[in-house]
Amino acid sequence: MALKKYYNITPEGTRDLLFEECGTQKKVEGALSQLFAGRGFTEVVTPTVEFLDVFQQKSSYIAPEKLYKTTDGKGRLIVLRPDSTIPIARLVSTRLKGFPLPIRLYYSQPVFSVNQSLSGRSDEVVQMGIEIIGSASKRADLEVISTAVEALSACDTSDFRLEIGHIGIFNTLIARFGIPEDAAEEIRRLIEIKNYPALNDLLDNMDCGEGAGMLKMLPRLFGGEEVFSQAEGIFKDETITGILRYLRGIYTALAELGLREKITVDLGIVNRNDYYTGIVFRGYVEGFGETALSGGRYDSLYADFGQDLPATGFGVNVDAIAKALRGREASGMAPDVLVHGEPGFEMKALLLCKELGAQGLMVENSVFDTLEQARAYGQTRGIPRLIQVSDTREEIAMKGAGRK
């Protein structure tokens, strides 16, 4: 017989959620569902496993070593979904062909990715998000971004920021100064990690004229509204000034909603493995050291599925928000009242439970044989009230009641 070495632990990168942890998580999910549904998005669920091919088409957006892979009964490669946007693109391209546009969907489901061992990151994370498919308009971008801001504020974290940027600035500079692909990738990487010293060294040793100065500035261009005037002083290219005008328009509109201090600009957002083609944005919350929300416009993803549909959307890492909120919730795991029915009065006790429940109390019906056992249990659990039901209802004094 094989040794059962792993029978009492969970795989690395996964965990159980108990009591208040679970409560906080579900509360965030509830708040976001309500927000998304209230803004006219409809929920969809996609399968936990998908064929590998869904994620590995003309462009592979997700690194293969990040995917949890296995095979189906016929030996075909399947993966645990690493993302919801791509499966939704598959779903819309097949099931919703000809559906009136734009299509507004939301999702709430776990995504899986293989993280480096011992890095303390979760391989399974609940992600919630929205997609607007079939609209290329600025209004769609604004709709998605304002929903993102509302999502972060609905989560009730102590502070948050949403930053906006545009992938087109970097792409335009690379094309205009004829920078070869491998050098462009190295520049992109250094801008992404804001490695100013290495970026300066690299660009000083390249022959790309005034492009060097512009690319050097890109990762430094982040902050509030002043970024736009700085950027306008640096970039004279028509495409880029057009992009800046567009971004400023979005920024101003959000500022009008009274969100000025929550919105920042970062022109140095240049992710790889992204399907984003236009405006991009990210959310950060106090208490979580990584990106908690990310989104943007992705107009070419649907081409992989044979459709010509512009789209925009975002996803929130619900685990991140729950982590940021953890410790702020009261424990709340013990019920308010324990009801114990004496033999013959079990149904009467149940009726009382229902009655108290209707008053909004959390009521537990005792499953013990004797009142003494019920009382002992109530005391260890820290339940403040015990009611004995027989001919009468009697409040039984609890030792150390309310010590919770």
């Binding site: 303390g120 804001k194 290495a198 982040f222 920042t264 950060y284 050291g289 990584e290």
Partner: protein
């Protein structure tokens, strides 16, 4: 007073150099000098909280956002990688990664797969992958120079400062791999949530470098 900015320093020489830098800026470094066994120290006038940690842990703390900033060598960054912003080269702690081996040998000659000993398997793998060369890596924890002397490896990839240990043991540098110096790294969320404070501090540091 707002929440202090928390900075993780690599214990040892980089810590001393950073404290010297703080003193140049006029910060009150009393606690940093009389730290005893304490691991978290205050620089009250600069609203800084200093954490002392091993190099690789500095990266871990900054990546997870429990520290906003970190001072760590480029050697550790190259070996461990991770997601953070690497914004300033402090210029101290200078040395280099180099490929070294017994004097007078033609390392690149022959077709046999070479064995390389190193404390930095990641750096070694990437260096040779860049050359399209298959090699075998043996991870060594202590004095790597021993490995070629004992015949375990053909060469080593290690940090070289003056090169005197190499010379004393009949080894020489075959090729430089990368220059190293101390860097300031920043958590990706902190720089967005506390931009002004962090940029202000970095600007003051850069002004005295």
């Amino acid at each position: 007073m707002t929440k202090p900015i928390r900075i993780a320093l690599t214990k040892g020489r980089l810590e001393k150099d950073t404290v010297a830098l703080f003193e140049k800026l006029g910060f009150d470094c009393t606690q940093l000098h009389n730290k005893g066994r304490k691991l978290i120290l205050q620089v009250p006038d600069a609203n800084l909280e200093v954490v002392l940690a091993k190099a690789a842990d500095v990266i871990t703390y900054v990546e997870h956002g429990v520290c906003d900033l970190g001072v760590v060598g480029k050697d550790t960054i190259m070996e461990h990688g991770g997601s953070f912003f690497e914004i300033t080269d402090l210029g101290f702690g200078r040395c280099r990664f180099a490929l070294c081996g017994p004097e007078g040998r033609d390392f690149y000659g022959g077709y046999a797969v070479k064995t390389i000993a190193s404390k930095y398997p990641g750096v070694t793998r990437r260096f040779f992958a860049g050359k399209g060369m298959d090699i075998q890596i043996v991870k060594i924890e202590g004095s790597v120079e021993l490995a070629p002397l004992l015949g375990l490896s053909d060469a080593i990839v290690d940090i070289v400062e003056t090169g005197s240990t190499l010379r004393e043991n009949g080894l020489e540098v075959y090729e430089d791999v990368a220059p190293i110096s101390a860097r300031v790294i920043v958590n990706t969320a902190s720089i967005k949530l506390r931009k002004q404070e962090i940029e202000g501090l970095i600007a003051r540091i850069e002004a005295v470098l």
